[in-house]
């Protein structure tokens, strides 16, 4: 495990050549078919979902889409989903439950979108509903944080049986920039905030939030995208095979307990 600071990892995650789900999905899933729309309002390109095979196993894939260039980012809103994105994710998760397919969530977002339309369509409710429904979804859910895990916008796809993170990925309740502006009224102190917030995969493993760290090539995933895709793929094949055979009551009890036990207090 390389000994980088949270800030250095953030720079790696923000590298414009860092692979995205547009690279990973074709590399990991065969015959992937994308499904559109939430059935209520529209289709959100910040989250793509669909079905395909992981090795021999049919799976449902739900993924947040970082663009690789400005054009793609405009389309996917820099991976900041609107409520209809989260509702599409829930629709596809329910479909997966019905047909007993494992759900694989690929998380990579600075956060849920903050805007008038997002508020009008209930960003808060959409995220809450996902937390609520994913908690008892009767099929295995594996979530992987690929780059940025931005607060509630990431958590809405990360109520799962097992959470993995790429080695340099970050997962945080608040953006370091946001924290800096609250703490010191100075968003340029992002770097200090980055370390204080304890947001690296290693930190999150110590808190019991992250279950598995997937190694990245030296210097970051962009240095060898295929190799990174292979590592994620191997992890997924293993995780899905471990969870597929778990009896549903046990699966749901364990999932509840995974989140139930997180917290630190005295009484």
């Amino acid at each position: 495990m390389s000994n980088l600071t949270a800030w250095e990892r953030m720079e790696i995650v923000h590298n414009k050549n860092r692979p995205t789900v547009n690279d990973y999905i074709p590399a990991m899933f065969t015959r992937f078919m994308e499904f559109h729309g939430d059935r209520y309002f529209g289709d959100d390109a910040a989250i793509i979902g669909g079905i395909g095979y992981l090795s021999e196993t049919p799976v449902t894939v739900i993924a947040q889409v970082k663009g690789r260039n400005l054009e793609e980012n405009k389309r996917s809103n820099f991976s900041m989903p609107h409520p209809e994105g989260y509702r599409k994710a829930l629709r596809l998760a329910k479909q997966a439950e019905k047909f007993r397919r494992p759900v694989i969530c690929l998380v990579d977002t600075p956060g849920a979108y903050c805007g008038i339309e997002a508020e009008k369509r209930g960003q808060g409710e959409a995220i809450a509903r996902n937390l609520y429904e994913f908690m008892t979804l009767k099929t295995p859910i594996i979530s992987i944080i690929l780059g940025e895990g931005g607060s509630g916008g990431a958590l809405a796809l990360a109520v799962c049986d097992e959470l993995a993170m790429l080695e340099n990925a970050l997962y945080s309740a608040i953006s370091p920039r946001g924290a800096a502006s609250i703490l010191w009224k100075d968003s340029s102190k992002e770097r200090e905030a980055c370390e204080i917030l304890k947001i690296t995969a290693e930190d999150l493993t110590s808190f019991g939030v992250c279950d598995k760290i997937i190694k990245e090539p030296e210097g970051g995933a962009h240095n060898a995208p295929e190799q990174t895709a292979d590592s994620i793929y191997e992890y997924l094949v293993d995780a899905v095979s471990r969870y597929k055979s778990v009896e549903i009551t046990k699966l749901l009890n364990d999932r509840y307990t995974k989140f139930r036990k997180i917290g630190m207090f005295t009484e």
């Binding site: 508020e119 209930g122 309740a173 204080i196 989140f259 917290g263 207090f265």
Partner: protein, 294 residues
């Protein structure tokens, strides 16, 4: 001598300060409780009149923030409240600088150990589990204690077949607990689901302000969602949205009325009617009346 504006400033700070500060400190020597300036309409009234009106602005009907003691007094039957987990206190899970000091200060200023009080009570004779968040305590942000208390309250209610009435108000996740605070969103939502799957009734009451991670978890998940008039309800902060879209937002944006129009609030209930409405809902769901109302 202090000018009349200065008096307003002091009063204003008690009700509009969104930072994590305590209610107006005790060392201010001028008569701070003389006047109330409404943060919504800017109207000024005698504090006495404002308090008599249950802290509702007589000019614009803004339902101002209450302490948990005030809320409990207005909601539960006298003497019926039994608190759960009164001694539970935050630790410092991510080793955040000076978090313990902040908590200690808040505990002294607010006469409570944390940002939520939970327990069991009757409302006009109808038994329920109740939770009251107090925005005076670190903006009622959700950390380990808030998450754990809510989770236990729902688990207890699920086990006993009791309904839950939850008065939400919060600035969102508690930054000082980092990722641990984010996980409380999943944890509390899971507990709401557990209670719901056992047929439990959950009434969420959104009060000023209901925002961020609390809006995006248990507060939005009531079978019935009630809001107080004119309160702030939303996911993202107003300033964050304004900075993103670079235009001024309409004044009623993220108000209770706006949320009702958008379809996320079942009804808006005046403070003076809340007890009656809650008890009527509990009655309609077939819960037995236990005692005579106060």
């Amino acid at each position: 001598m202090a000018s009349i504006e200065d008096l307003f400033k002091v009063v204003k700070s008690r009700f509009t300060d969104d930072s994590h500060s305590a209610p107006a400190s005790k060392d201010v020597s001028i008569p701070q409780d003389l006047l109330f300036k409404c943060p919504r309409c800017g109207g000024v009234v005698y504090n006495e009149e404002f308090v008599r009106a249950m802290k509702v602005c007589p000019k614009c009907n803004y339902h101002a923030r209450l302490t948990w003691q005030e809320r409990l007094e207005l909601t539960a039957d006298t003497g019926s409240f039994k608190e759960f987990d009164a001694e539970m206190r935050s630790l410092n899970p991510i080793g955040f600088p000076r978090y313990e000091d902040k908590i200690a200060k808040m505990q002294e200023a607010c006469d409570t150990r944390e940002a939520i009080v939970t327990g069991e009570c009757t409302i006009r004779g109808y038994r329920c589990v109740i939770g009251i968040m107090d925005s005076h305590f670190m903006m009622a942000s959700m950390g380990s204690v808030v998450g754990e208390k809510i989770t236990r309250a729902f688990e207890y209610a699920a086990e006993k077949g009791l309904p839950v009435v939850m008065f939400a108000s919060s600035g969102g996740a508690r930054m000082q607990e980092g990722i641990i605070s984010l996980m409380q969103m999943a944890k509390t939502s899971g507990a709401v689901k557990l209670h719901s799957d056992k047929g439990g009734l959950y009434i969420a009451v959104m009060t000023d302000p209901t925002t961020g991670g609390v809006t995006a978890s248990f507060a939005s998940l009531g079978d019935i969602v009630i809001a107080e008039p004119k309160v702030l309800i939303g996911f993202a902060g107003r300033r964050v949205i304004q900075d993103t879209i670079r235009q001024r937002l309409p004044d009623d944006f993220q108000s209770a009325e706006f949320q009702q129009d958008c379809g996320f609030v079942d009804m808006i209930v005046e403070r003076g009617m809340m007890r009656k409405r809650l008890s009527n809902i509990l009655k309609l769901h077939g819960f037995p009346k236990e005692t005579t109302a106060r």
